[in-house]
């Protein structure tokens, strides 16, 4: 069936293209110059962009479905304007065998929502000791290897993992924090943690580990080059000015590294801890105003080229435990785009194409996927949003099981009204006639 989206303002990561009538046919963009269709949708001059790609979500399946499951997670993603998400393997059990990858992909295909990509564990049970079968996992459809949720303490294992994953064509993602320096820290270390009487996780724990991992990458790249391969390292959720500077220097030097930044690290600071509320508990922790400024700068310059939500749902009851026992994590799939549109584009004047690029092509490049472009023949992974209408964040209305939010009550613009995956409608807002 053909769908015509009339009167949409087209934007992708390469620029703005003015108004057009987009014809969708057989899961692809058939034309940007209109055409006959069974269904016609008037976009009313709203923005049409490529559907977003989230390289970092926790869908808690299998094993922790009280927090989130594939159906709610993929629906939440679709509602947030995401066409594709990469689910992390820190589940129960960890995703580390090809059969598990296939089973997840098969189940996701039956669900109405964003497209699922599956990250598998880099090491057995994510213990950082024995490598998982990268080639078999890649063949089963794994998108990425990572021990996210844990830190890779053994540099030698990480180096071998990078070389081996490179041969299988997969990137390796790491949660870069030095476990010893991090200790039992629950919030950013510094004067505020001292004042509040809470254990701090210092920015140096992140910087030290990023510095180490970049040396590990340099070594792995040398080893792999001899075999004609190139390892790719993906640094998840860079949260500090220092961490961002290390990534920038490494990229300038030509090391194959991509740095990710999250919506929460771009918009919230440790000051939120004054309210003693575990909704703000996340690892790495929310940092300072100076870090937020540095991260936005790095995002703008492309030193951090991918936005990942690190959507980390927990039950509301778990987030109401005390600040030591409450789990780490912030759910953000449903509002990452409106949040960043409002905070970065509307409030700070970041060009819209740049934000779109960092939420589409940036993460896609790290995953080895083609750029997301609005052109004839491209997959019809599309998102339509309204730049004007403001809505208040109401977690009660989330489709994610995690119905709480650090941004509850915030008024945001830029809400996705329609999300298409390969031409299939996976989210349509009631406001869209």
């Amino acid at each position: 069936m053909k769908l015509l989206i009339k009167n949409a303002r087209l934007v992708d990561g390469s620029g703005e293209f003015g108004n057009a009538d987009v014809l969708v046919e057989d899961g692809h963009i058939a034309s940007l110059a209109g055409g006959d269709a069974e269904r016609v949708l008037d976009a009313g001059g709203r923005w049409l962009v490529p559907a977003l790609t989230d390289p970092h979500v926790h869908l808690r399946t299998p094993g922790q479905e009280t927090k989130e499951d594939l159906a709610t997670g993929l629906a939440a993603a679709a509602r947030g304007g995401y066409g594709t998400v990469v689910a992390m393997p820190n589940t129960e059990p960890a995703v580390q065998e090809p059969e598990q990858v296939r089973a997840l992909l098969d189940e996701a295909r039956t669900l109405p929502g964003a497209r699922l990509m599956v990250a598998a564990a880099l090491t057995k049970n994510q213990e950082g000791k024995k490598l998982t079968p990268a080639a078999l996992l890649a063949r089963a459809g794994a998108a990425l290897l990572t021990d996210d949720g844990r830190t890779n303490e053994d540099a030698g294992v990480l180096a071998r993992g990078l070389v081996y994953a490179a041969a299988a064509g997969l990137a390796v993602a790491v949660h870069a924090e030095d476990a010893g320096l991090r200790g039992g820290g629950v919030m950013n270390d510094g004067p505020l943690a001292a004042e509040l009487g809470l254990a701090g996780n210092p920015p140096e724990a992140e910087a030290a580990r990023i510095a180490r991992d970049l040396e590990v990458l340099r070594y792995a790249a040398r080893k792999a080059a001899a075999l004609g391969h190139a390892p790719r390292l993906y640094l998840q959720h860079v949260s500090t000015a220092r961490g961002a500077a290390l990534v920038a220097a490494a990229r300038a030097e030509g090391l194959p590294v991509t740095g990710e930044v999250t919506p929460h690290h771009l918009t919230l600071t440790e000051e939120t801890w004054r309210g003693f509320d575990a909704r703000f508990k996340v690892a790495p922790p929310l940092r300072t105003e100076g870090d937020v400024e540095a991260l936005i700068g790095a995002l703008e310059r492309g030193e951090l080229s991918a936005v990942g939500t690190d959507h980390a749902p927990h039950t509301a009851a778990e987030k109401e435990r005390d600040l030591e026992n409450a789990p780490f994590g912030i759910p953000a799939l449903e509002l990452a785009f409106p949040l960043l549109y409002t905070e970065l584009v509307e409030r700070r004047g970041l060009p819209l194409p740049l934000l779109i690029e960092r939420m589409t092509t940036g993460p896609r490049a790290a995953l080895g996927l083609a750029p997301a472009r609005l052109e004839e023949g491209a997959p019809a992974d599309l998102m339509l949003f309204d730049p004007a209408e403001k809505r208040t964040v109401d977690p009660e209305r989330f489709v994610s099981k995690a119905r709480y939010s650090p941004w509850a009550g915030r008024e945001l613009a830029g809400w996705p009204l329609l999300t298409l995956v390969a031409g299939r409608e996976v989210w349509r807002d009631a406001a869209l006639a």
């Binding site: 510094g190 004067p191 001292a194 004042e195 509040l196 009487g197 809470l198 309210g275 003693f276 509320d277 009851a317 778990e318 109401e320 435990r321 005390d322 600040l323 030591e324 026992n325």
Partner: protein, 305 residues
């Protein structure tokens, strides 16, 4: 200032509020000096002591304070380990709330728990110590004891010695005592000092902190600190930071000696000093009861008014 709704810490407090509360405590202490140590002030109110961390002394002190004013008292004690497993913290509070209680005295192992409780409960919350964060009634009883000794705290140097980083008593005193004009010093080994403590000067030099001090408060040293790697050895701590008769000679001649208890004799404090003429440890216990009576009175009668 408006009526006191909770006592979580001293954020937003001013000197007038402190003085008014301590004045009430003095009236309460007169009650404690009578043969019949009971007044009907809180008759009909119910106070719960909710302790997620063991503390016999503080619990008894609060329970007695409530009973001296004819309040009914119920007690809950839960081990800290249950907090990690279930969602028992909030559930426990909501269950208690369903029993129509008026005030909750909460002791908890993690900073912020009293604030969390105050968000969920409609009754008054008294923080009886939350992790490293605050222990406001301890600071109030310290202020009460110090004022009795020194008459005024204006310009007085109060030296706090020991495990400052982990001390809620120090954090609360550093908030409270400067409101009364005192200059607070906090001294201890580098591994046991925070990087900043608003309201206090930090020093690793015990002699500097004790020099001309008008009063000295010694903190309990917990042995777990050695296991955590914050301190190399007990022997080294004793050699460098134990408050001894000789060291105390640097303070003002009759500077009183306080300790929030329970005490490790001959660890943080030379044993003989604990029973010596400078020690106000027993005085602190008595002051604690009067201060806690005043806090409950201000919270419950102040709210009802």
């Amino acid at each position: 200032m408006g009526a006191l709704r909770h006592l979580l810490d001293f954020a937003g407090w001013d000197r007038a509020r402190v003085e008014s509360l301590l004045e009430t405590a003095r009236m309460m202490e007169e009650v404690l000096e009578r043969p019949m140590k009971k007044v009907p002030a809180l008759k009909g109110f119910t106070v719960a002591t909710v302790f997620f961390e063991p503390s016999t002394r503080t619990k008894i002190s609060f329970e007695l304070a409530a009973r001296r004013m004819s309040a009914d008292v119920v007690g809950f004690s839960g081990a800290g380990s249950s907090l990690a497993k279930g969602e028992s913290f909030k559930d426990t509070l909501l269950t208690l709330q369903a029993m129509a209680l008026d005030a909750y005295v909460i002791r908890a192992p993690v900073a912020g728990m009293a604030h969390q409780a105050a968000r969920w409960l409609t009754g008054a919350v008294v923080n009886a110590g939350d992790g490293r964060r605050a222990h406001p009634t301890q600071a109030l009883l310290d202020a009460y004891t110090l004022l009795e000794e020194l008459e005024s705290l204006e310009g007085k140097k109060i030296a706090i010695v020991g495990d400052v980083a982990h001390s809620r008593v120090t954090r609360s005193n550093a908030e409270l005592l400067p409101l009364l004009g005192a200059e607070v010093w906090a001294a201890g080994p580098a591994g046991l000092l925070p990087e900043r403590l608003a309201g206090a000067r930090l020093s690793t030099d015990l002699d500097e902190a004790l020099a001309d001090a008008d009063a000295v408060m010694v903190l309990r040293l917990q042995r777990e600190r050695m296991d955590e790697g914050a301190l190399p050895s007990l022997r080294e701590y004793v050699a460098e930071y134990q408050v001894t008769e000789a060291r105390l000679a640097r303070a003002k001649p009759h500077a009183p000696l306080l300790h929030p208890g329970p005490m490790n004799r001959d660890v943080e404090l030379e044993g003989a000093l604990a029973d010596g003429p400078r020690s106000r440890v027993e005085r602190q216990v008595r002051a604690g009861e009067a201060v806690r009576m005043a806090v409950l009175y201000h919270l419950l009668v102040g709210r009802a008014a």
